[in-house]
Symmetry: C2
Subunit: 145 residues, 2 copies
DNA sequence: ATTGCAATTGATAATCATTATCCTTTTGCA
DNA sequence: TGCAAAAGGATAATGATTATCAATTGCAAT
């Protein structure tokens, strides 16, 4: 049993939720994949292992993973919410190529500090933020020329 | 005729699009409102002045306003796209209260520079970005105590 | 082990913002 | 004025997500 499963079980227990095969399987498959995955993509993977699982169950399980602190939502604004690992995967922002859709994870500690300062200057206590940087990657720029 | 209308007319002309009463009215009402407005809210306002206008027309007109550079989309991630003025209303980011939903427009030129630098360090040419800072405003913090 | 029951599941219907379709009405121009 | 193309209005379609509900299952107490 890895640490994530441990966290999940503790979360379930604490909230009087049940430990089911479906939830275990969904968590397992989610953990195996790095990067961003949509609910539907995850559902497709889950179906391969157990075709009887419904997609509503996947949506419900993803909510639990978020509440348990194991997953985090990302919204690139294309109408689909994606999910990524949160445990042992510290906060970061995203750099997205408008050409090929490639995404990179980036962090800049100075930006992070300034965000806090900006918020405070307006009397806000910052809890979290989202930052999406859009542009063209090296490859796509070369193709354009 | 104000500058925005001028820009809109030029845009229509340049693209062989027609200048219609509906488009004029929607633009006029959009310009009158400061802040963020959803397509539906705008539709409600438009209906008051001309109940015969359909909401598809409002959606279509908003697209034109964006293409003409007069409006800009904002996505707070709540499933509704909002629109705000773009002309004479330079880029800014948003500071959003998780308590009361209040939003403020903020800019920090140092952050802007750093964003560009971060993107470049990964070989990206930055075209635009979105930054949403979430937290609790002064009011909401006091209420919590 | 068995039971009792609330939590969970799977299938499916419902939502809700946004888009597409389709037919009618206008518009801009000859 | 007449006409082709553009635009509008009504409405159906879309597509991701959520709600509903009957059937099943996990689990604590027996």
């Amino acid at each position: 049993m890895n640490e994530e499963q441990n966290i999940f079980h503790k979360y379930l227990e604490k909230h009087d939720l049940r430990d089911t095969l479906q939830r275990e399987l969904i968590l397992q498959i989610f953990l195996r994949r790095e990067g961003h995955i949509s609910a539907e993509q995850l559902y497709d993977l889950v179906k391969k292992r157990d075709p009887s699982i419904g997609q509503a169950t996947v949506y419900r399980a993803l909510k639990l993973l978020i509440e348990a602190g194991l997953a985090r939502e990302i919204d690139f604004g294309d109408g689909v919410i994606r999910y990524e690992h949160k445990y042992n995967h510290p906060h970061h922002d995203h750099l997205i190529c408008r050409g090929c859709g490639k995404t990179l994870e980036v962090v800049d500690s100075v930006i992070e500090k300034l965000q806090k300062r900006v918020a405070e200057s307006y009397g806000f206590e910052l809890t979290d933020h989202e930052m999406y940087l859009y542009g063209y990657c090296e490859n796509c720029r070369q193709k354009r020329q």
